[in-house]
Subunit: 156 residues, 2 copies
């Protein structure tokens, strides 16, 4: 409360330290995000980063997307599709949110299916049974043709 205010830069720009403090991400992470193309900065004459106020929203969006389980590379790709010249509008952000909500739905659905299957298995101890859908997709499902699967797609 009695601490001196943060320095106010021309145009309301924020230093990297301020962005770190206010967004809750480390300075090194902001550097890292910049290297990955997730954020950009202007530089002072002395080569220090300055961010427009919109950076806080952008970082917040990145963190939300990360919490949904989306990898940074995908977040970067999505952010890259935002309008280039002007600041993004509420609708721009909302469109991103809708897309990510769909991915989140997908993840929740898959985890829920897994949970339900696990429930079934708890009752019967069926991880020991050949027929258990959780047990062994290659052994059981693979031999039943290429139809829809109960499980998450395999990583490979």
């Amino acid at each position: 409360m009695s601490k001196p205010d943060e320095p106010v830069f021309p145009g309301g720009a924020l230093s990297v330290g301020e962005v770190a403090r206010r967004s809750g991400v480390a300075v090194s992470t902001l550097h890292f995000y910049e290297a990955k193309g997730l954020i950009r900065s202007l530089r002072t004459e002395g080569n220090q980063r300055r961010y427009p106020r919109g950076i806080l929203r952008r970082v917040a969006v990145i963190k939300v997307a990360q919490r949904t389980g989306i990898p940074l590379a995908s977040i970067q790709a999505a952010l890259a599709r935002l309008p280039d010249g002007r600041a993004p509008t509420a609708e721009d952000w909302a469109a991103l949110s809708r897309a990510w909500r769909a991915e989140l739905d997908e993840r929740i659905l898959r985890l829920t299916q897994l949970r339900d299957q696990l429930d079934d298995c708890i009752g019967c101890g069926c991880l020991s049974l050949k027929a258990c859908p959780l047990r062994n997709p290659r052994d059981v499902l693979a031999s039943q043709g290429a139809g829809p699967r109960l499980l998450e797609p395999e990583a490979g």
Copy 2:
């Protein structure tokens, strides 16, 4: 179908290649799991791995746990608590499943909360607002004391 059957080893033991084929994980992954203490093998006189049949269930359990998002180290710890001498019973596995089901519930719950918040935000574009719970935990929530949080705990 016309392929020769897999070799049958004494006691129904399985070679690493068979386990890989039947469980859907790579041979290198089985080596890796063994190095991490998730599975064990007996060795032939020629130093080749042989697994008891129960290995397929064990690997299946590992994969299920991984799908719920549990890291290998935790899976290893959980498996280490299984009875040492005898083969695990259905109830042993069911106990594991119950524990992991609880973790899965937790993950689903957090993702669902996140989704609901995202829903709210889609309507109002509120990632731009100071008050948005998704936006900036440090800026908003942190200043409200150490009470329960709406969001997932921060990684750091």
